[in-house]
């Protein structure tokens, strides 16, 4: 299938119609969806209508934008007016938001055409997309394996060439890890670079929206399209989006690259040897292209996982309180009182993983434990940021594996803590608010793709795209 940039350029020049591009995407979805289950909702008619509007604009001589006619998919936790937004939860099954997320407006403004909403771990809580109330998504490379998560549907849709571009949300690795497991590019931008308005919150201080693509250049144009200040999101950074497309051609000459020792068989255990080998090869490839590569120790990152599994559930426990059966969503039972109804609705509406995290977070915030858990975790976060910032005085970017392992079978990590350990390399960037990108770099066990992660400082997207482009060529 064509890349997003190829489609947009052909549509803008009139050589390909948006309608054809969208029809192709819909056909691919129809053929593979029974096997993969990447989507919760496909909006074929609406997509064709929009595609025709793009074609009319082109015919009328106007430019529909940098993503003209590009079929896209959105993780089903981004609000789309009049289109179901379920978070893959029974509690929101069938809910149609009466408003659009900022990213939806921006993408429509750039000429992109939404074809559907993709599956996820319920409320984005998970690393395998097994926690969806509507059944799991399968890895297009091998349907007996998970696609990763929580944005597994968006990763699979791109990996299976159903769409050239999709979007996920990343709270602890939920874009980068499925990108690695499905062999696509996945970007988590700087916290505040992309508006969260309309993204159903999991953990507000960590959540960021980012793209899945088959090429680094597509990820660059996608980031430039969705980034930028939004007055509806207080935490949105009041600065222009960094220009990253420019950085793609720079090469690696003089780029200072630090390889995180703790994630290369150091203090953190449980990495597959092939994953470590590919990451070393990636470092070598950068060096061969002229980069200065060195190991660097970031001791505090060892504690990222612990801090994350206190902070994220704490914020989630509060963010998910509103699903109470009063104003929207599914009320399960009347009960004899409002409280009864709320308890019945929440008990029946949430899956086990969501309940676990709500309880963990409620506990971490409750009287008597706040200082020991949430308060302490927020200080660990400061430590991690200080450590990163010290490293970025010496390095432009850092390098690590994205995931300790390649795609794994369904049910392989049934124990919650074992599953959580999967996020050990991705979590520190969320805690620090820094950008990071996962690039497919050759294969590991069972010929499955390995993802290499390039990390950068606050608003350092240009540098990570620069390195990512080099890795893409060397892979």
């Amino acid at each position: 299938m064509r890349t997003a940039l190829e489609i947009a350029n052909l549509v803008r020049s009139g050589e390909l119609s948006a309608t054809e591009a969208v029809e192709e995407s819909l056909a691919s979805i129809e053929a593979q969806e029974p096997q993969i289950h990447a989507f919760n909702t496909v909006v074929a008619d609406r997509a064709l209508d929009r595609a025709r509007a793009v074609d009319q604009a082109v015919a009328a001589g106007s430019d529909p934008g940098p993503l003209a006619g590009v079929p896209i998919a959105l993780k089903d936790n981004m609000c789309t007016s009049g289109i179901p937004t379920t978070c893959s939860s029974k509690i929101l099954d069938g809910w149609k938001p009466p408003y659009d997320a900022t990213i939806v407006e921006k993408l429509a403004g750039a000429g992109a055409v939404l074809v559907g909403k993709t599956n996820l771990d319920e409320f984005a809580m998970g690393s395998s997309t097994e926690n969806s109330a509507f059944g799991p998504t399968r890895n297009p490379l091998n349907p007996s394996l998970v696609p990763g998560g929580s944005s597994g549907g968006s990763a699979a849709a791109v990996a299976a060439n159903m769409v050239p571009l999709s979007f996920g949300s990343d709270t602890g690795g939920s874009i980068r890890q499925p990108a690695a497991l499905c062999g696509t590019v996945g970007l988590k931008p700087t916290y505040g670079a992309v508006s969260r308005y309309g993204l159903v919150a999991f953990a507000s201080s960590l959540d960021q929206i980012g793209p899945f693509t088959n090429t680094v250049a597509d990820a660059a144009v996608a980031f430039e399209t969705i980034g930028g200040h939004d007055p509806r999101d207080t935490t949105s950074i009041p600065q222009p989006v960094p220009n990253v497309t420019e950085a793609l051609e720079r090469g690696a000459d003089g780029l200072r690259v630090g390889v995180i020792a703790e994630m290369m068989g150091g203090a953190i255990e449980g990495f597959e040897p092939e994953v470590l080998a590919r990451t070393r090869e990636a470092a070598d490839a950068l060096a061969a292209a002229g980069a200065e590569v060195e190991e660097v120790s970031l001791e505090s990152t060892i504690y990222g996982l612990s801090a994350y599994y206190l902070i994220a559930p704490a914020e989630a426990s509060s963010n998910l309180a509103r699903y109470d059966g009063v104003r929207y969503g599914n009320r399960v039972a009347q009960g004899t009182s409002t409280a009864d109804m709320m308890v019945a609705t929440r008990t029946a509406g949430f899956g086990a993983e969501v309940k676990r995290r709500i309880m963990l977070g409620t506990y971490a915030l409750s009287a008597g434990y706040y200082d020991a858990f949430y308060g302490k975790a927020q200080r660990v976060r400061t430590l991690i940021i200080d450590d990163f910032n010290a490293a970025y005085e010496k390095f432009d970017v850092l390098l690590s594996p994205t995931s300790p392992c390649v795609a794994f079978p369904f049910g392989a990590k049934a124990d919650p803590l074992t599953m959580y350990l999967n996020d050990v390399c991705t979590i520190p960037s969320n805690l620090a608010g820094h950008p990071a990108i996962s690039v497919p770099f050759r294969t590991g066990a069972n010929d499955l793709p390995v993802g290499v992660q390039v990390l950068g400082p606050m608003l350092g997207e240009a540098a990570i795209f620069q390195a990512a482009a080099v890795l893409e060529t060397a892979a």
Binding site: S205, S306, G329, Q334, T336, Q378, R379, P416
Partner: protein, 100 residues
């Protein structure tokens, strides 16, 4: 930091979170949550004294909106999605207890 999490504590937390757990669920969840909390105890090894907690990775302050009314043209859709609506009001079963 914490002693092993007890079933009673998990039950109390579920109640605070408006969730009802069966005995079997209590049995499963308690050791699972205890394991995560136990893992979290490794942060004890860290000296974080004198460190400010990080609330936001990108420090912003005084982010305001002007006091301007913005209409919402999709009110009917917002009301239509209520599980039970009567005369444009959201209907709920009777409240017991009082507002805090």
């Amino acid at each position: 930091m914490a002693e092993a999490l007890s079933r009673e504590e998990v039950a109390r937390v579920a109640e605070l979170a408006m969730l009802r757990l069966t005995d079997e669920e209590l049995e499963t969840f308690t050791p699972q949550l205890a394991a995560v909390l136990e893992h979290a105890e490794d942060v004890e090894a860290l000296d974080v004294h004198g460190l400010e907690p990080t609330q936001h990775p990108y420090p912003l302050v005084n982010v305001f909106r002007a006091d301007v009314v913005e209409g919402f043209d999709n009110r009917d859709a917002a009301l239509a999605m209520g599980p039970e609506v009567e005369d444009d009001l959201f209907r709920v079963p009777p409240a017991h207890g009082e507002e805090p």
